[in-house]
């Protein structure tokens, strides 16, 4: 159907972003293709080396999953701050990513986790790293006739922790700034860090300078504040009703250092 209708069509997942956009006439597809009932696309499954999430898994299912709570708490952090509890009954992780909105929360988390995005189209299936999936504002690497079907997340290494921090004005709002952090500790030192940021540019931004300043630091006293400031310097926020660019950078620094602190704490608890 996507091939037949092309530009005139839109894939409808949980509808919690697309339907509001249609009401505002910001989207006016002639054809809606509802994939929300494909139950085979709704699953949370851990295999040997990775976690697999079906695109139609709801935020509510992620938020209340015992497996995620114990093994992938960053996904519980993320899903539980998206919109509000009623919206989370329908909103899906695949929709949150496929929308390509840098204000959404899962993109940064998936970039920090090094997740893979599965795209299916008439030509078959391919995997795209989350970092390459987000191309520009509302633009992803998916071709017009491809749909996002699942997400693959590498299982955490030993003594690895991850966390997501969002600062929002009120429940249901997008982030003023958000940060996803993954920290791996070995022999009392920070071995590896990955940080990605929400709503501070046209795509979820990697904060490589923050990652580098963390590397090799003592795990009992990493430079959280310094890393936060470095992350903030790399951002490109714009001024809007959520604040000036300067204010957003300050919030970016705070959420980054908080996410790093919590991720480090979780990594240390893993040992």
């Amino acid at each position: 159907m996507l091939v037949e209708h092309g530009d005139d069509s839109k894939v409808l997942a949980g509808g919690q972003s697309l339907i509001p956009l249609m009401k505002l006439r910001l989207a006016a597809p002639q054809v809606l293709i509802d994939i929300g009932r494909i139950s085979a696309l709704s699953f949370i499954e851990e295999q040997d080396t990775e976690l697999l999430l079906g695109a139609m898994t709801t935020e509510d299912a992620l938020e209340h999953s015992d497996l995620l709570r114990s093994r992938y708490p960053i996904l519980v952090d993320t899903s539980s701050v998206i919109a509000d509890p009623i919206v989370r009954n329908h909103a899906t992780v695949g929709g949150n990513l496929a929308h390509g909105d840098p204000a959404n929360d899962h993109p940064a988390t998936m970039v920090a986790l090094g997740a893979g995005i599965e795209l299916q189209g008439p030509a078959g299936t391919r995997w795209v790293p989350a970092e390459e999936y987000f191309v520009d504002l509302f633009t992803t690497a998916a071709a017009e006739e491809e749909i996002l079907t699942s997400i693959r997340i590498p299982a955490p290494a030993s003594s690895e922790g991850a966390a997501y921090e969002k600062y929002e004005r009120q429940v249901g709002d997008y982030a003023v700034a958000g940060a996803a952090a993954v920290v791996q500790v070995e022999a009392g030192q920070i071995l590896k860090t990955r940080v990605a940021l929400t709503n501070l540019g046209t795509i979820p931004l990697r904060a490589t300078a923050a990652e580098e300043v963390m590397r090799g630091a003592a795990a009992n006293d990493p430079p959280f504040e310094r890393a936060g400031l470095l992350a903030a310097e790399s951002t490109e926020p714009w001024a809007d009703s959520r604040g000036s660019a300067d204010y957003k950078r300050r919030v970016a620094a705070a959420v980054t250092s908080r996410a790093l602190r919590r991720a480090t704490q979780r990594a240390l608890e893993q040992r």
Binding site: L12, G15, Q16, I19, P20, K23, L32, D34, G36, D60, A83, D84, P85, I86, V87, N89, H90, V171, G172
Partner: protein, 167 residues
């Protein structure tokens, strides 16, 4: 029923234990179907932008903002609205909790608050105040300041508990 053209669709859904065959415009939202076509005006439209929760109903048991679901998406599903909760002579324990604690002023948000609270208390029978606050984060009230609503949901939980203990 058959749909006359491509802009409408014939659907079947169960609303408050009653099956309905209706033809809806494809663009009709569930709340418009409930209020305008089925005459169930207990469900309110507040913001119509997925924020306020006044339109909350249960779809297959899950609280849903009925302004943010197309009626066609409810095809084959089971919907419960405030009219399907309790009766004029016997209130649902959640309605009773709101009555006892004066958990409303103008009452416009109340149907949505009640629908959210029923599903929440079925999942979390003895909630903390913090859990209640988080559970109603998607339902806005512009009168009460929420204090009596939070008390009402706590009371409702105890009433539901007492009811299930005696039945």
């Amino acid at each position: 029923m058959t749909a006359p053209d491509k802009t409408t669709t014939a659907i079947t859904l169960v609303v408050n234990d009653r099956s309905h065959d209706v033809v809806v415009e494809n663009r009709t939202t569930l709340v418009q179907l409930l209020r305008s076509q089925l005459g169930l005006t207990g469900t309110k439209v507040g913001c119509d932008t997925t924020s306020c929760g006044a339109c909350t109903v249960h779809v297959d048991g899950r609280p849903t903002k009925s302004c943010t679901l197309f009626a066609v998406q409810a095809n084959g599903r089971t919907v419960t609205t405030i009219e399907g909760v309790g009766s004029e002579t016997e209130l649902h324990p959640v309605q009773d909790g709101f009555r006892r604690e004066h958990g409303l002023q103008c009452g416009y948000c109340t149907p949505g608050m009640v629908m959210t609270s029923i599903a929440f208390l079925e999942r979390v029978p003895d909630p903390s105040e913090q859990q209640i606050r988080e559970a109603i984060a998607g339902n806005l009230c512009r009168c009460t300041g929420y204090v009596n609503i939070i008390t009402a949901i706590g009371t409702a939980g105890r009433l539901m508990d007492a009811e299930s203990a005696t039945s």
